[in-house]
């Protein structure tokens, strides 16, 4: 009698233990699923943040390129692009890209990679006697549609007339 009672008690205890272990395993499994989901989101955010930093770096760098900046007696002006230099450099890179020996294109590819950099005059229109209001400095699109873009206001200086206009430099990075 006593033995049967102890046996039933033991069975109950075992059932209880099995139930507890099963419940804990389910909780751990659910925790792992939630954690992995968060990790995935966190990695995507980190990747986006790094891409944003890359865009910011490129924009900042271009603003201070000696190939483009306005200079008066060797003094560089802040956020100012010389439109003659812009026209010449854009044409030079574009012709290099289409030639057999794309030296210039390869040189700038290290810094600009898959992106598009264009400058557009917004005020006043048609300042330059050359009648240009839109310049494409670099056009190397990737396979995927653009996901990051930045617009930076800059001055556009025409050394032929000595006049300043306002332009927007648009930088798009492709994946």
């Amino acid at each position: 009698m006593e033995g049967i009672k102890m046996g039933k008690k033991a069975q109950l205890q075992m059932n209880e233990t099995v139930f507890v272990v099963f419940l804990i395993m389910i909780i751990i499994f659910l925790g792992l699923v939630v954690l992995s989901r968060f990790q995935e989101v966190s990695i995507l955010e980190k990747s986006k943040s790094l891409r944003s930093l890359s865009v910011i770096e490129s924009t900042h760098m271009i603003s201070f390129w000696p190939e483009l900046d306005c200079s008066d007696v060797k003094v560089s002006e802040f956020a100012c692009l010389d439109i003659i230099k812009l026209r010449v450099l854009g044409k030079f890179i574009n012709e290099s890209a289409q030639s057999d020996g794309p030296y210039a294109f390869n040189y700038y590819y290290d810094q600009l990679k898959k992106s598009k950099i264009a400058v557009r005059e917004v005020y006043p229109l048609n300042t330059s006697i050359l009648w240009d209001t839109y310049w494409v400095l670099w056009d190397n699109p990737g396979t995927k549609k653009t996901t990051d873009s930045i617009r930076v206001p800059v001055n556009l200086f025409d050394p032929l007339t000595g006049r300043y206009a306002l332009g927007i430099m648009e930088l798009q990075i492709y994946e």
């Binding site: 910011i56 930045i150 206001p153």
Partner: protein, 172 residues
């Protein structure tokens, strides 16, 4: 015998309650973590940088621009003249204040208005304290709203003081 059964039953109930409490604590901890994670989205670096660059660069670049209606004159010269108690510059039958206002509006229309950005632009003169010489805003970007702000100061030399230009891009 019954007493022993009761004792065992109560013990089992207590253990079950203990288990349930542990499960509730774990679920609560997970929920608190979820709420914290979702209420603190990662800051958008690109947007912050772009707003700062737009605010600062637009002010500085705008001031250096040659005004179309006033050949040989930069916008900052017109703004400085407009800020004085007796403006003296005229271009094509318009005063310096009118030309400067029109030019600034044209610039903002091609940029911030066209991009549908929430912003607040103002110009203040030390000769008119507490008043704004010029003011433009878009989509209720109020003075108290959180903004990325750029400043430009134009000297009123040879007199004392500076004209203060502010451009704030609302972040929310």
């Amino acid at each position: 015998m019954n007493r022993l059964k009761n004792i065992n039953a109560k013990k089992a109930q207590l253990e079950m309650i203990g288990l349930v409490i542990i499960v509730i604590i774990i679920i609560t901890a997970l929920l608190i973590f979820l709420v914290y994670k979702l209420s603190n989205p990662a800051e958008n670096l690109q947007r912050i940088y772009m707003n700062n660059e737009i605010a600062t660069n637009l002010l500085l670049s705008m001031n250096r621009v040659n005004v179309e209606e006033c050949p040989g004159t930069k916008l900052e010269e017109l703004i400085v003249d407009c800020a004085k108690p007796t403006p003296s510059m005229h271009c094509a039958d318009y005063t310096s204040c009118e030309i400067a206002g029109q030019t600034i509006y044209r610039v903002l229309n091609s940029t911030l208005f066209a991009w549908d950005m929430r912003f607040r632009f103002s110009v203040e003169s030390p000769y008119y304290p507490g008043q704004e010489l010029m003011f433009f805003d878009n989509r209720n970007c109020s003075e108290k709203a959180e903004k990325n702000t750029g400043f430009a100061l134009l000297s009123l030399y040879p007199t004392d003081g500076s004209v203060e230009m502010k451009l704030g891009i609302c972040t929310k």
